[in-house]
């Protein structure tokens, strides 16, 4: 399932690249892009694992940039 979310307080381009790399490593994630310019996260995730994966993604994002949140 493909979905796009807005990211708040995504401040640095390198962090966006790091997040993207980390999210793509996750098991249930088919593909992910973190777009620094549009401040958007686009993810393609297994349908049944969607909610739990989204939580993990939020955690991963926090790890890279503590102020950054996904607007659901």
């Amino acid at each position: 399932m493909k979905k796009t979310f807005k990211l708040q307080d995504l401040d640095c381009a390198n962090c966006a690249a790091k997040m993207e790399h980390a999210i793509n490593e996750m098991e249930a994630v088919h593909s992910a892009t973190v777009n620094f310019m549009t401040q958007k996260l686009t993810v393609d995730i297994d349908e049944e694992k969607f909610d739990s994966t989204m939580k993990d993604i939020q955690k991963t994002i926090r790890k890279v940039e503590p102020d950054c949140t996904i607007i659901m």
């Binding site: 381009a13 390198n14 790399h21 620094f36 686009t42």
Partner: protein
């Protein structure tokens, strides 16, 4: 400026003030340290906080951590002033960087500002202002003067002119009347329109375009992938070198002091953040996509900008792309009678025919035809027509017809379809009917060549003579004529083999029946995409108007974008390497290091924005 940026500015100013006090007021060493520390913590606490959190998570290559380490290190070796100034300059740089990114984001978004905010919905005789999302198909909406058209629809009542600049880049307003379709994203200029909605908001033109442009930068270009990959290795390597630099020489060289070499190591830490690189590349591509969309060109990914910049061969479809695709009278050559009279004979003789040639003759004639004046119409199959027009025996047809009635055709020159006319068995002249070349086709080819594209090719299903005539008129290098749709794919495959490894092949078509070719070529450009979902779907790049000259525009924008990307990469890397080597020999100070970090970012961002200022006729 956002709230956070304002707060950051105030902190920077306060901290600088305290720092200056520390510089001026004569105090003891401890006194100075206290003042400098106060200044440091005021401006740097955010960095320290983040750094601390990151160490707990084991992330040592974070830029905050590196900055904190570098500045604290300076304090440690007794360089208080440097410790404070580094962090102040770093924060100023960061602030500039954020403001610059916000600005550019905003200016690019403004370019794409076609999204309507509301719709005036007619409900039980009343007018209600609603979100465009809430309007359903077949609802009636009212669009007043100066408002954006919120949804695609059909005009039920009223007439007006529409500004389509935001969608197509076309500056001439379009006139609409009842029965015409109108597209969301255009602006109603003169009258009030009642419109029946034909597409929901999510499906309407404006949503599709916005979605496409917004997601375009998700498809990353090679340069961007390279730089993010590079960044992953760059930081650790520089940090490791910094560690060696601070520790090894003092241990090996007896005269070397620890504080000097640690200082050199700290300079490395400051330069180790790859932000300037990582930020300027996607920003440049985003700017390129924005600049193109302003010109009415939708690019579906950053990777296509890169490919377009390396365009080597441009293949055009003829009909509908370089030519208008409608047959028109292009030449009237009478013999001893007037042009109008010749056209009148032809139009009257063909008055009952619905053949495309007959239609274009009648259209060119323009006046109403009094059919009572025409009698004895006789169709001569494969040759033409014979009719009595106002008492004159008129023959209209090809050269075979003239031979048959033994009328001699004088020498003539024409390409396209030629219709000969005789009146009372005397040759009266000929009319040429052909597909008209678009007004900007020639200049399009000229500019494409001027941009350094090696080969231009035209593919057409049309006759050899016609195809070659159009090609030579436009100055196209190669022509392949009389092709079936399947042949076009084969031709493109052959041309693909002929292009060099780095060169790219672009195919430009009208997007309707050339989907296989569009997908087979390196980049498929569909023209006249406005309102055609199929074209938007199949192509990599969509030109909203039907001007072939936009192909040159988009290549030029891509070239410029890529040039800026390369400049930024070379500039940022060059400055960093330069200061790194100066630092290693003890010739750089921390201010220069901070410049190599955030200063370079700001310059790279400003450089990236140049693409937006590009003129379209460049």
């Amino acid at each position: 400026m956002t709230k956070r940026q304002k707060k950051s500015l105030i902190l920077i100013l306060l901290s600088s003030l305290i720092f200056i006090i520390g510089l001026i007021v004569p105090l003891g060493n401890t006194g100075k340290l206290i003042i400098y520390l106060a200044s440091y913590i005021l401006v740097g606490h955010h960095v320290l906080q983040k750094a601390f959190r990151n160490i707990l998570k084991g992330r040592v290559f974070d830029e905050n951590f590196l900055m904190a380490l570098a500045s604290l290190g300076a304090f440690f070796i007794g360089d208080y002033k440097e410790g404070v100034t580094v962090i102040i300059f770093y924060q100023i740089g960061e602030l500039f960087e954020h403001i610059a990114v916000d600005r550019s984001r905003k200016s690019i978004k403004d370019l794409m500002d076609i999204c309507p905010d509301y719709a005036n919905l007619e409900k039980d005789g009343n007018l209600e202002t609603v979100d465009p999302d809430e309007v359903c198909i077949d609802d009636i909406i009212l669009i007043k003067t100066g408002e954006k058209v919120p949804l695609d629809g059909e005009v039920v009542e009223g007439s007006s002119t529409l500004d389509t600049t935001a969608l197509t880049g076309e500056t001439v307003p379009r006139t609409v009347h009842a029965g015409d379709t109108i597209l969301s994203g255009t602006i109603n200029l003169t009258g009030v329109l009642r419109v029946r909605v034909t597409k929901e908001f999510g499906e309407s033109t404006v949503s599709k375009i916005l979605d496409l442009v917004e997601n375009a930068s998700n498809k990353k270009a090679h340069h961007e992938q390279f730089i993010t990959k590079f960044a992953r290795y760059y930081t650790p390597i520089v940090v490791i070198i910094a560690a060696f630099l601070s520790l090894i020489p003092p241990l090996l060289i007896p005269s070397a002091s620890f504080s000097d070499w640690i200082h050199r190591g700290l300079i490395f830490l400051v330069i180790s953040c790859p932000c300037a690189l990582v930020i300027s590349v996607p920003l440049s591509f985003f700017g390129g996509i924005g600049a193109a969309s302003k010109a009415g060109i939708l690019i579906k990914g950053s990777n296509y900008i890169e490919a377009l910049a390396n365009a080597e061969t441009v293949v055009f479809d003829k009909t509908g792309t370089l030519t208008k695709g409608t047959f028109e009278v292009t030449k009237i050559a009478p013999l001893q009678i007037s042009k109008d009279k010749l056209l009148e004979y032809a139009a009257y003789a063909e008055c009952y025919s619905s053949h495309p040639i007959a239609l274009s003759l009648k259209k060119s004639y323009g006046n109403p035809i009094d059919t009572n004046m025409v009698s004895d119409i006789e169709e001569i199959s494969g040759h033409g027509i014979k009719a009595v027009v106002n008492g004159v025996v008129v023959h209209v047809g090809n050269s075979k017809l003239m031979n048959q009635i033994q009328v001699e055709i004088p020498a003539h020159s024409s390409t396209g379809t030629t219709v000969h006319i005789s009146a009372d068995y005397q040759y009266a002249g000929y009319i040429t009917i052909s597909d008209q070349v678009k007004s900007d086709s020639k200049s399009a080819i000229t500019s494409i060549k001027a941009l350094g594209v090696k080969t231009t090719v035209m593919l057409t299903g049309d006759q050899k003579a016609v195809g070659e005539m159009v090609a030579s008129e436009l100055g196209i290098d190669k022509v392949r004529t009389e092709l079936l749709p399947v042949d076009k794919v084969n031709e493109v495959e052959k041309l693909l083999e002929e292009t060099s490894q780095t060169g790219k092949l672009i195919f430009v078509g009208d997007g309707i029946n050339d989907a296989p070719v569009l997908t087979r070529s390196d980049i498929g450009i569909a023209m006249g995409g406005l309102g055609s979902d199929a074209a938007i779907e199949a192509a990599d790049i969509v030109i909203m108007t039907d001007e072939p000259s936009k192909v040159a525009t988009v290549i030029a924008i891509s070239r410029k974008t890529l040039r800026i990307v390369k400049q930024n990469i070379i500039f940022a890397l060059g400055v960093k390497l330069f200061i790194l080597s100066l630092g290693a020999f003890g010739l750089a100070n921390m201010w220069e290091a901070v410049f190599a970090d955030v200063g370079v970012s700001v310059i790279a961002i400003l450089n990236a924005m140049r693409v937006l200022k590009m003129k379209h006729n460049e």
